[in-house]
Symmetry: none
Subunit: 217 residues, 4 copies
DNA sequence: AATGAATGAGCATTCATTCAT
DNA sequence: TATGAATGAATGCTCATTCAT
């Protein structure tokens, strides 16, 4: 969670260069996965010498983790904003869906990376970084569901933790559906070739699905 | 979709050897990902010479695709059986959930591979193989939902294709939750450490979630 | 001490190639020391692909140890022959001196390597290989001295183990004096520029030195 | 031999800093050998910027040579003191042995470096620095032996130059036996594990060895 | 004068693939 | 047909050295 100890050198360079490095790294890792991502390539694309690269990051793994950390922080920020807003549960859910649609489209590589991440054998270290975020969402979702349940709006017999999990699953795959080739093809096959021009329809239907799942009436 | 052209040599060897090769390959690919998987290693574990390996499969990619093909066929068989059974929609859904729980536990590596697959840059070729299966499920789900809708059991305002998609999303992530490290940790974090001892609870709650999403009353 | 386990592949190739590899490796290690010896270079000089090199030896260290092993065995063979000969102590010593003069001249690089070896931080593993030989010499020298002492030929107040050590020290530095640049210069400085043309003088004087050290009258 | 030309900058800094740099460099070179020694590391340990390091020493080699120079000067001082003392030959020899025992124990790294030095390909340059000292010892030893010979104390048939060489060889290896891992192990193997607790025995026996080698009676 | 960030050549090692037997 | 030895391109990482500040 706390990376700043090793990244001193990296944090000292200009923001422009930092972003260039992150961009290059996110692309490379998202495109090729951890193992076949090529650090010399990242350096080349970011117009930074390999030597510098290794001044900024101890090794490939640390760079990878830093990227993940960056991506997660970025996502966390957005989620927190929504979740802490004044909306009610349904309002929040709708907002999340909309944000997923726009965010995963404009951060294709970051989202691909998130999918990659679920495969890597680095799970241990990666999980340390991500669990933080997942933990927050898990708890918030569950508490909102609990609230709604107590208010009599949600059926009494639901396990709020599991329902939170199913809900987040729907969000995750929605995210991937807007960024990862495979899932994009799959969505097109399930629905239609022009589904990516119908964000409103997707949002509306997913809302309906979720509303039905949760709410009485 | 049709692989037999190149796989003549492979199909001619004993089933036992074929299975040994598949086992070794599935493990290696699932464990290390496409790029880091080591063909010489697979040959070693399968007790086959590398020379033979390259007689059976033109190159790494073809082996990978053959493995995916094999995995997908295995899954397709199971799904088809359920989907073509006499149960009604809810009955089928329950069966699928139960099968996912047992299948992904006893075929951990194959399921991991399925997750891997969604990342690789081979998406194009992979998709050719898998689209077949996804196409079948997509159509079947949609038709069943249509049926139920026409029968007045499912709300009228649902887009059956999108609902089929959401439904399958829930299934996919359930599958991963029982086999991929990352998703396993995530499920534990959302619910509890002992969630993997409570398959009935998970199945029951997921049924509830889906039933609510789809059905009137 | 037993290396054959890992060196199967290496032992299977033609003796000619094996010798070429050893020669190249001995030269490289003797010339540059362990750290800056370049394996790609050794492969090049030995006209073997790097890939093969790594089939024969797991890594740089194993190659190094194999070389040391080879050198030590070669030396051990010669020493054993002398030590087990029928000569008396003085006769053996003279033979050893003569052998050192010829051996270290015709195996310059192997002898340089022996000097290198005393510096490397691999001491641990290296020592395992060499201790064997050193142990043998140590014991043999000591026993011969003991014998001579018991026979009244050698003074009674000598510690045979320490005397064996001093004796071997004289041999070691004699060896280096015929192969290592530094020690060669040093010998020339102590005696004269043309000392390397006077092997008989060196041998005779060293005999005198040692005889005096050991023997009564 | 004369280094001061390039070392102006270095000689201008405080003695404390100079010593810190020497200490760090001696450790690094002794520990890792010339090639693997890391100048950036030396700078770090000596708390000097790399930039300054390269102001003081043109490059790695010059730093190395400066270190050798320093070490040799230190040793030369001690030897000269002994050699010019009023003792007779045997007295001097005993003093030298004692000094070797204490000096090589308290200057382990410098002594290691001396061993390193005999291997490096820098022999040429190194020799320039050291020959000075070796030349002095060579001449002094020889002259003392000559003296003793003329005085009838030493046998008439010895070549004083070669005997001086053998004598110095014994000293050199004694030195290494107290500081270099390899030679330490070797001494333990020849004599006993606890030999390093028996300096008096070693000194006494070496005296006996040398006395016998040189002296009538 | 002093600094230390930046550079990039260089090296150990891996592994997909070929091909002679 | 089957083998497995041989190949060599490719890549992560280090470190001596430079030079702008």
């Amino acid at each position: 969670m706390n990376f700043n100890h090793t990244l001193e050198a990296f944090n000292r360079i200009s923001e422009e260069k930092r972003n260039k490095i992150f961009d290059a790294a996110i692309n490379e890792f998202a495109e090729h996965g951890y193992e076949s991502a090529n650090i010399n390539n990242i350096a080349l694309k970011a117009e930074v010498s390999i030597g510098s690269m290794y001044k900024y990051f101890k090794n490939k793994e640390e760079l990878y983790l830093a990227i993940i950390h960056f991506g997660v922080e970025s996502l966390k920020g957005i989620l927190e904003e929504i979740i802490c807003s004044e909306e009610d549960l349904l309002g929040k859910i709708e907002k999340i869906i909309r944000v997923i649609q726009s965010y995963s489209r404009s951060n294709v590589n970051l989202t691909k990376l998130y999918n990659q991440m679920t495969n890597e054998n680095h799970s241990g270290l990666v999980w340390e970084i991500v669990s933080d975020m997942e933990g927050v969402t898990a708890k918030l979702y569950a508490s909102f569901i609990k609230e709604a349940k107590d208010a009599g709006k949600v059926r009494n017999d639901v396990d709020e933790k599991l329902f939170a999990y199913f809900l987040d699953n729907l969000f995750i795959l929605l995210q991937f559906s807007y960024s990862c080739e495979y899932y994009k093809e799959r969505l097109k096959m399930f629905v239609s070739e022009d589904i990516f021009d119908k964000d409103d329809l997707v949002a509306e239907q997913l809302m309906k699905f979720i509303r039905g799942a949760f709410f009485l009436e």
